[in-house]
Amino acid sequence: MQFAELRNYASELRTFQLRVGVAGMLVLAAFGLLLARFVWLQVLQHEAYRAKAEENRIAIVPVPPSRGLILDRNGEVLARNYLAYTLEIFPAQVQDLEATIAQLAEFVDIQPRDRARFRKLLQETRNAESMPIRTRLTDEEVSRIAANRWRFTGVDIKARLFRQYPHGEVASHVIGYIGRITTRDLERLEGLEVDANYRGTDYIGKAGIEASYQQELHGTTGLERVEIDAAGRGMRTLSRVTAQAGNNISLTLDIRLQEVAERAFGARRGALVAIEPATGGVLAFVSVPGYDPNLFVDGIDPQSWDALNNSPDHPLNNRAIAGVYPPGSTFKPFMALAALELGKRTPRSTINDPGYFVFGDRRFRDSKPGGHGTVDMYKSIVMSSDVYYYMLANDMGIDAIAGFMKRFGFGTRTGIDLEGEAAGVLPSPEWKQARFSRPEQQKWYAGETISVGIGQGYNAYTPAQLAQALATLANNGDMFRPRLVSHVDNARTGERRYVEPQLVRQLQLRPEHIAVVKHAMAGVNKEGTAARAFAGAQYSSGGKTGTAQVVAIKQNEKYDESKVAEHLRDHALYIAFAPLEGPKIALAVLVENGGFGARTAAPIARTVLDYFLLGKLPAAPRQRAPEAEVNTGAQSD
């Protein structure tokens, strides 16, 4: 045994030495191969390569395409390009950046924020050839730098196309903005296999349409063969493949309507989404406060960025698709429709609303103390009875509610053509099971179903979902995917490509059931909770007010708006469509901490509908009514 092992040792050693010899041969063979290749390139083909290197005074310079425009439905320009001179630094060629910048500051105005922005760009972008220290130079500055050009290495003046958003903050959450291509963007472009088309391009869409239609807007990069001198300076252009400008994007949005809608919010925070029910085209898309996208164009400076990012109003949040809110009583028309479709109620069946509903040992209160008395379906919507829907939810059960609402798109992304959409929450026992980890939290309690019935509880949807659901109802059950783009124009060929309406599903609802709910919603605006906001309207419309609780109120407490801090006040909601026959518009309005939907959200909708249907511009902004006067406590939403 020992002998065998010793022999093994010896044979393993012999094998090893043999293998070392083989490895040595491998090295020699591989190096011989390299040597042969070197001889081929450097001796046999040397003349050819020498000539190529001589000819290689021809640099291939990418020519970035000009970015497509963004227009509204009437051809009004929302994003365009203009030519301006920038002062650029080539970091790789500069020994001491700070000294160079200080020296440049003697000739052009360089603010601390320019320096801060330059440093930020330097951190975000790797391997960039050149980086702007100053943008939009005046003619005088250009000539001053040009005259002193010899003093600097690694500094140059470039003509660049800049993006401009003529409407500033208006529709900022739709249009979005562009910014410099970061390392992260580059990785994405590499993943999409389009990075070669981005050579020479410094900017890319970061938000809104600018981001979601980046590929359309970008165009095709051209290239120039430029003869360069021994120092690498361009002498003349030998040939070029012209760049193809990006496609122009036309939106379904009406920028005038958008302006009216945004102005109607005043200083309030909130969102509004207005949809054309028959196509899904978005007519207005508001998230306020917004921001000025022009700030981002040549790299936002850190101060402005901090101001936007740290504002308590969160202007960078797109509330319309990324904010989720309980729908409050705007949920009731859908509940009513569910009751009819599932045979849980008839339009005429009534309940008694004493102002509360007792379930187990809990009292669920109606927002009107004393209740609405005898309530049928029409009255339940027009006066917004809570008790009617507490009972209905209890009779239907959570599974039936969730099943029906899911078909209306609640708790599912609408698929609108913007990035960053939230899914929201359609509460169900399965959802709760998945959402929580502790077993006692995972259980669904029957009491929770009751608050779901009036749009509270775990319900949380985006304003866009609410608008889509209403548009589906207005459209008698045919659901379209909301979209912002109407058509794409190829600037070169003139070819126009329409974005076809995309039918998501047909809900197959009974026409008589829809008629009942629509009739009741018309009642809301005629004689119900939104009657005051729609007094004297010259068109027919249907609506529903809503109020979403931000903080829970204790069992025996009364919600008193004047006593609650502004950011803890209820959210005001309102949904409406008009006209009643063949609706042209369906919208959802949300006013954060706006209190009663009837008071703050419905008037905004009225302003928007007046403009959209009648072309009526709102009167000069009225003084807002003092807060305390309105709350009588008897008001229902």
Binding site: R19, H46, R50, Q95, R126, T183
Partner: protein, 370 residues
């Protein structure tokens, strides 16, 4: 005199202890060539050269430290080093930082760290240690197990994706298995399996990696992208001719036609300026370095030391061959630096640690096995 001189003398003796003169001279000569090429590639930027000198100083310190560690101690650390490197690779896969499209870095707060680099050393140590324990009774299943130990980290690195490092780690492990005496038939079988793995591997590859291989076949298809690298680097090499254009006079280099000219493509700069003669000198230096490594391996007393030294020498070979082959346009573009010459602290550190290991093995060649 006597009193002051003795400690100084002793210090010097302590410093040169364990330093193998031929290895040291060869590595330093290569590093010096690297600095000269870097100076030209960076358009005579002294700051960058100074930076690389600092990297070199650190690498030399690491080499010296490794030369002091006896192979037996290294063997003790083989398994922990391998497990640690594997754990860190897992960390990278789960929480690594993405730089230039690849998830390779682990951010440790102060420094960013590339665990795949550590694997280049840990892998041959681990396999050498494993075969050493099985010495005298190495069977088929040992080769199978070793292949698994090799394949797992290689696939993890390849998925980052870092094809260059994956290739080097794979080579490091493969040469241990090769030196351990895997049968020729088995080797042929493995080669067949590897060939069979190519199509699925093609599917796993990132698009840019596929494009690099395709453009090797026809560089003109992608003149703005990866093909441009190959076209320009071959022109640089070819136009260098027999004697080269002279230091700092490469037009390809100085007109910015050579991409990545400080790092992976620095050989194009060197070859353009020093020509075929320079290339032969460089090949000779590498050949001598590898030969010295192999001869140290042949004279090593234990199986662990033999296998480790042999693998380290052959890693140097793999680096040099793959890089020069890529620049000369006969191998696809993978991110493998030219050893001792390309700019960058991490690879220099790893390489000199390898030199240090060889020195230690050589120094302890007469120690009797315990």
């Amino acid at each position: 005199m006597e009193i002051a001189g003795r400690p100084l003398h002793r210090l010097r003796a302590r410093l040169v202890e364990g330093i193998d003169a031929p290895l040291f001279a060869l590595a330093l000569a290569l590093a010096a060539i690297g600095l000269a090429a870097l100076y030209s590639a960076s358009y005579e930027n002294a700051a960058r050269v100074a930076n690389q000198l600092a990297n070199l100083a650190l690498a030399l310190a690491a080499m010296w430290a490794m030369a002091q560690v006896p192979p037996q101690t290294l063997a003790r650390f083989a398994l922990p080093a391998y497990v640690l490197a594997l754990a860190l690779l897992l960390g990278v896969a789960l929480a690594g930082e993405v730089v230039n499209g690849a998830r390779r870095w682990l951010n440790l707060g102060v420094v960013r760290f590339q665990p795949s680099e550590m694997m280049k050393i840990a892998m041959p140590m681990m396999l050498a240690w494993y075969f050493h324990r099985r010495e005298g009774a190495i069977r088929l299943r040992d080769f199978a197990l070793a292949s698994v130990l090799l394949a797992v980290p290689v696939l993890m690195v390849a998925r980052q994706p870092d094809l260059g490092t994956a290739l080097l780690v794979a080579a490091a492990g493969f040469f241990v298995i090769f030196f351990a005496g895997i049968g020729w038939k088995l080797l042929a079988g493995l080669a067949a399996v590897a060939l069979a793995c190519l199509p699925p591997l093609w599917g796993l590859m990132h698009d840019y990696q596929r494009r690099r291989i395709l453009t090797l076949l026809d560089p003109s298809t992608d003149p703005l992208g990866a093909g441009y690298h190959i076209i320009q680097s071959t022109i640089a090499v070819g136009s260098g001719g027999i004697t080269g254009k002279g230091w700092l006079n490469g037009s390809q280099t100085h007109l910015e036609f050579i991409p990545e000219r400080h790092t992976d493509f620095i050989f194009a700069v060197y070859s353009e300026e020093f020509g075929l003669i320079g290339n032969i000198a460089l090949l000779a230096l590498y050949a001598l370095l590898i030969a010295r490594g192999l001869s140290i391996a042949a004279g090593a007393p234990t199986l662990f030391a033999r296998l480790l030294a042999g693998a380290v020498a052959m890693i140097f070979f793999t680096y040099a061959f793959v890089n020069m082959g890529m620049v000369a346009g006969i191998l696809p573009v993978v991110g493998v630096p030219l050893p001792f010459i390309s700019y960058g602290g991490t690879s220099l550190l790893t390489l000199f640690i390898g030199i240090g290991i060889l020195m230690s093995i050589h120094r302890h060649r007469k120690l009797v096995q315990t």
